[in-house]
């Protein structure tokens, strides 16, 4: 790959610009609502406390996994909105399995991770299979499957649940201590906090995502299909098979989204298990442009905004839902900005190629003229 400063600059311009646009628009909304603009930004942009810093990293870990799951679909022009349902089905399945403690210690964790991937993959496979055999849009089917997942998991949770006394929280059986993933202790200032041990899983998934997509035949076929399905078919890619496989792969990674929470924080799946991560993953994948590093940065930005919003109500008297508005505007403007940058890059490249060739021709003509003279 060739990295020119211009390319890097253009790649960075879009997300930075859209964050700025989001800030401007949010400020206008705040002004219109007569809320304290300055205090809101002071709260959101201040240096996070050590506790929050760790919380930001932890939510970024989970968001990154979700973004990679979405990005696998995106690279192939598949819009897997179903990551949300896939990770909840998977987290439930893994929690039930791990809670049984059929296997000892780490083995239990490893097999549970596989169970999660399998569950997520199978759940996504339904949408893939419908698309391949019946031509059902994966957008529609995954939205439906999200709803089904919600109720299905709630139904089964009732079956296996142990209601803790004096609480209406329903949980699966708690994972034994021996099968928990210890956090990585980090000391910032006076405080000691823990980062999810499964951050390594996120790093590994990110690496494999990069490697498989950019270095393997399978990845080439997948990217080719995403860029031009017709050209991919003509080149010998079995597109239906690719659709099914990438959907399953996307679902399998989605299955891992809940794992840092399950093995590092909650140790059971219950009604309070964090929801909505699949949708945030879509936003992070868009902001990070499906790039393995870009999505990591985007996940941190997302986590940062979410954690910083906690103090908004107390310190600025503004609802923390405001962050949702900011995130929404970022996503909208980043989509527009990337499209503008993409078109501009195409034009600039065409211009550069034409100019380079014209210069070459002129040189050749001059040389010929000199020879003639």
């Amino acid at each position: 790959m060739s990295f020119s400063p211009r390319k890097i600059l253009m790649a960075l311009a879009a997300p930075v610009l859209s964050i700025l646009v989001a800030m401007v628009i949010t400020s206008i909304i705040l002004l219109a609502a007569k809320d304290p603009v300055g205090e809101v930004w002071a709260q959101l942009l201040r240096l996070p406390s050590p506790r929050l810093t760790i919380a930001i990293v932890n939510s970024a870990v989970v968001l990154y996994l979700s973004a990679v799951a979405v990005a696998i679909g995106f690279r192939m022009n598949l819009f897997n909105i179903g990551v949300d349902g896939q990770y909840r089905v998977a987290a439930f399945a893994a929690a039930v399995f791990a809670g049984q403690a059929w296997l000892p210690g780490w083995l239990n964790i490893l097999v549970s991770l596989l169970v999660a991937m399998l569950a997520g993959g199978l759940w996504a496979a339904i949408a893939g299979w419908l698309k391949v055999t019946r031509g059902v849009s994966e957008v529609i089917s995954t939205i439906m499957l999200n709803a089904i997942a919600t109720y299905l998991v709630a139904y089964f949770l009732q079956k296996v649940a142990l209601s803790s006394e004096g609480s209406n929280v329903t949980n699966t059986k708690t994972i034994p201590e021996s099968s928990r993933v210890p956090g990585i202790p980090v000391t910032i200032g006076e405080q000691q906090r823990e980062i999810y041990g499964l951050i390594f899983l996120a790093v590994l998934v990110g690496f494999l995502y990069w490697f498989i997509l950019n270095k393997t035949r399978f990845g080439f076929d997948l990217r080719a299909t995403g860029r031009s399905e017709t050209a991919a078919i003509a080149s010998g890619v079995k597109v239906k098979r690719m659709v099914l496989m990438s959907m399953i792969l996307s679902g399998a990674v989605a299955g891992l989204v809940g794992m840092p929470l399950l093995f590092g924080q909650d140790f059971a799946y219950g009604t309070t298990f964090q929801a909505g991560l699949g949708f945030s993953g879509i936003a992070v994948a868009l902001l990070g442009r499906n790039h393995h590093i870009g999505m990591a940065v985007a996940a941190i930005v997302w986590g940062f905004l979410e954690q910083q919003s906690n103090g908004l109500q107390i310190n600025a008297g503004v609802s923390d839902r405001l962050v949702g508005v900011i995130q929404g505007v970022i996503v909208l403007s980043v989509v527009i900005a990337y499209e503008i940058v993409r078109r501009a890059s195409i034009t600039i490249e065409q211009r550069n190629v034409a100019a380079a060739l014209a210069a070459e021709r002129a040189k050749a003509q001059n040389a010929a003229a000199e020879v003639a003279a």
Partner: protein, 529 residues
């Protein structure tokens, strides 16, 4: 809207007649220059079109004809120069403004909705003129009668042939009040008989006082229909010619500026070893439709080029797709040497040595936003040197791309630029180079020189001829009869999915081919000029 008197006919016949008589000119272009980044598409264009004439604009592919017409139709604005319509200097910022001064354009590719009637297609976007009901119907009938277009407003467009569809396009433009018609390569999609009908229509339009600008690079046609000819070469007008006193040869030389390249067959290299055999292949259409391919049988020997002629949409694309494995034939067999490949997948067929130059390189041949070297892997992503086991070998693929760029004269500053930034000719050379690097046994070439410049055309022809000499079996599908006659050892005509008996390109005439292409074999309906 301006009104032009139908009787206002110029007296002079010569194209260089008095430039002072401004009001006899429908359109005058002076000093038109249009620059695109890195290239000058048009430079100092001088063009005067007399009212009530057919004025041909001839030039090679890429000479700048289309840009000029886009300028005249308001799609693009010139950087310099003036446009004068009926003696008034105008600025055309959009096609709407062009139609307001009476300029209408008929594009090469029809823009009609198949599932609507002629009436509905005509009024679409012009509902305010005469409504969408009987008012419009009456108007369409009147125009059709006045100019002899023979169009019924209530016909469904999908039931119409290519020639009739083109007349609907012309009618659409007339309906919007155009008095100056621009026709961009109108004959490209027509068989010779339909061309003759079109020319009759154009003469009718001319007789009614309308002005026609006719863009083409087919010289015989230009000489038969035009009153004046302007030649454009490398973006500028180089000459005007009088069709009465000019020969096709002279025009051709004006167009290219030197002697013409032509695809001339060399000594036969045909062997008796069949490489690709198609046996009784059928492909059924969608329910209730006729067969798309009807009992197609065909043999290509080593060292042989078999050309397929035909009007577009008669099964050429499907034949290619069946051979390449993108579609399964309903019945029949396809043999590669002695192996039955009928139910093989595309990838297996390509690996077995079938090279493929697709008809639409943007849709089927390239990843436009990927760099050249990734495009060289495309279609060969399981073959050396592009892969090592399951991994892509980018280094080897890049080296291979460098070699292709050099050997096949692909003009590019680097192998890292996207394929979309190259010109059509260079994209095509890249595709052909990529296929040839794997020394296929069979080459399926669909319209290999479509939309490429003269230089690229000549080199593509020589690559195909070289492949033939080296014993490759080539299936050549083309709409360019000259190309087919010049390159092929045998020509077959495809019509409604069926293949004709073989024609010998050395003796067959254009009219015989044209007759076979329309199904009027042996008894052509009309004389062809």
């Amino acid at each position: 809207m301006c009104v032009i008197s139908a009787t206002d006919k110029p007296a002079g016949r010569s194209a260089s007649a008095g430039p002072t008589a401004t009001d006899t000119y429908a359109v005058e272009l002076h000093g038109i220059t249009k620059r695109f980044p890195g290239v000058v598409a048009n430079k100092d264009i001088e063009l005067s079109v007399r009212r009530g004439t057919v004025h041909a604009l001839v030039g090679e592919n890429g000479a700048g004809k289309s840009t000029l017409m886009k300028i005249l139709y308001g799609v693009q604005q010139p950087d310099e120069g003036t446009i004068t319509v009926n003696g008034q200097v105008v600025t055309l910022k959009s096609p709407t403004e062009a139609i307001d001064v009476g300029i209408g354009m008929v594009f090469q590719h029809f823009m009609l909705a198949d599932n609507l009637t002629v009436l509905e297609n005509v009024v679409l976007g012009a509902e305010k003129l005469h409504g969408i009901g009987d008012g419009a119907r009456t108007r369409i009938r009147a125009i059709s009668k006045e100019y002899g277009l023979d169009v019924d407003p209530d016909d469904l467009v999908e039931d119409l042939g290519v020639g009739a569809r083109q007349r609907v396009e012309i009618l659409k433009v007339l309906y919007r009040g155009a008095k100056i018609l621009i026709l961009d390569e109108p004959t490209a999609v027509l068989v010779p008989q339909e061309v003759a009908e079109l020319f009759d229509n154009l003469r009718e339009l001319k007789a009614e006082g309308l002005t026609v600008m006719f863009i083409s690079h087919k010289l015989d046609e230009v000489l038969s229909v035009a009153d004046d000819i302007t030649v454009i070469r490398r973006g500028t007008t180089v000459a005007t010619a009088d069709p009465k006193t000019t020969t096709a040869r002279q025009l051709a030389e004006l167009m290219v500026g030197s002697a013409l390249p032509s695809p001339s067959t060399e000594e036969s290299t045909v062997t008796d070893r069949p490489v690709l055999t198609v046996e009784g292949v059928d492909l059924s259409g969608s329910a209730g439709q006729r067969k798309v391919l009807d009992n197609v049988s065909l043999t290509i020997h080593a060292g042989e080029i078999v050309g397929i002629a035909g009007v577009e949409g008669n099964g050429q694309a499907e034949l290619v797709e069946v051979i390449m494995g993108m579609r399964e034939p309903s019945s029949g067999r396809i043999l590669l040497e002695n192996q039955d490949i009928s139910d093989w997948e595309v990838r297996e067929i390509r690996e077995a040595g079938v090279g493929y130059i697709p008809e639409d390189r943007h849709r089927h041949g390239l990843l436009l936003e990927a760099p050249l070297w990734e495009n060289v892997i495309l279609g060969h992503q399981t073959q050396a040197p592009n892969v090592k086991g399951q991994l892509i070998d980018a280094k080897a693929a890049k080296a291979d791309t460098e070699a292709i760029v050099k050997d096949f004269d692909v003009r590019t500053p680097s192998i890292n630029v996207t394929s979309g930034s190259l010109s059509g000719g260079n994209q095509q050379k890249l595709i052909i180079g990529r296929e040839m690097r794997h020394t296929p046994r069979v080459l399926i070439a669909a319209h290999p020189t479509r939309g490429v410049d003269v230089g690229a055309q000549a080199s593509i022809w020589s690559i195909i001829k070289k492949a033939r000499r080296e014993g490759m079996a080539v299936l050549l599908i083309s709409a360019d009869l000259e190309e087919l006659v010049g390159l092929s050892d045998t020509i077959r005509v495809i019509l409604r999915g069926g293949l004709s008996a073989p024609f010998d390109p050395d003796v067959v005439t254009r009219e015989e081919l044209g007759a076979a292409m329309t199904g009027a074999d042996g008894h052509a309906k009309e004389d062809v000029q």
